[in-house]
């Protein structure tokens, strides 16, 4: 079962030790992104299986109705995708780097 997204081929990913943020590097030349708060939650859930219901999981974790955050979540993921840091993962595609949050 795949996640909705996986890190792009130009992304280096390191979660912080306490899980409060995710560091993402655009390889090979930078820059570095620090995803904290809701941004970190979105990255983690977007790259964690199952894909189904991942936005709802984000909503639950940030304590907001899904409808209220869906547009912002979509825009944020689109931004990361435009930077080639996240790529969508079809449900039937094997994903060797699906979970980089451990």
């Amino acid at each position: 079962m795949n996640a909705a997204f996986r890190p792009g081929p130009e992304a280096g990913v390191t979660p912080s030790g306490d899980g409060s943020c995710v560091y993402v590097a655009h390889l090979p030349g930078g820059p570095l992104l620090v995803l904290d708060g809701a941004a970190a939650v979105i990255w983690v859930e977007a790259t964690t299986a199952p894909a189904t219901g991942w936005v709802a999981r984000v909503a639950e974790l940030v304590g907001q109705p899904e409808d209220a955050i869906a547009a912002d979540v979509t825009a944020f993921v689109a931004d990361l995708s435009a930077r080639r840091l996240l790529v969508p993962q079809p449900a039937d595609e094997p994903g060797p780097r699906a979970d980089t949050t451990a």
Partner: protein, 297 residues
Amino acid sequence: MAAHEAAEAPAEGVTVPLEVRIGFAHACLQWVADRSGADLLHVKGAALDPTLVPGRGFSDADVLARPEHVRMLLDELRRHGWELINSFAYGSSFEHSATLRHDDFGLLDLHRIFPGTGPTPERAFDTLWAHRTTTVLGGVECAVPPRDAQAALLLLHAARGGSDPKAANDVEWVWTSADDARRAAILDWVDRLDAGVGFSVITGTLDDHRDDPAYDLWRVASRGGTRMEEWQARVRAAQGLRSKLAVASRSVLVNVEHLTIVRGRPVSRREIVAEFFGRPARGLSEQVLRLTRRSRR
């Protein structure tokens, strides 16, 4: 959303820990190697098996490249924001690594040789490469030597550390406290890597190798010496007349790269000239001081 570009517009309170940046330096190197067809092994620092020396800190990334791929890697890295700040010839008395710096990822030591390994740099790399395994650094799978080979390399590094407490701690964890089976596994890698002379520093038997051309290099590295003794050792260790002459001529040239770093700005012609005359003078004064100390004993 709270996404901060740490390099471009750091928000207040947003910092990226050094070990995270260094992990990304390794990831960057592997990314470049994978796409340029270069072979490299990540060594020491973040790449070290964490069970060898628990809690060991690090301040840069170290990679060992297949010698014939070094030039290509240097060219690629410079295209991706890495700046060469110290070249091989001036990096250390072993002339083994070049240092590069990246605004986001920090410092990198690109090794063309791991000091003490042989019989040639190419064969030493082949030996390690044939037994490589992987670890994930910065989210990217990176090639590393097997654990026992890592232990042998760490001890060879410590052998050059003189009285450095970190080197002493490495020796304590990896060698002194090791049981016979572990020591045998490490010694097996010392044999495979033809690393007997350097490793003899760890076992306290360096003086058994007085006739080896590399003896003086290891003696000065492990016990200390003057600048002049260091250069004499480099000349003795260089193979062939042409290499010896090249080393000897470098000993009196100014390392402009190093001087630029020390001064924190481009150096003027006048400063280079002053340094040219200052270095031999410093070497001579160190030698005189050392002789004076010996005569007092």
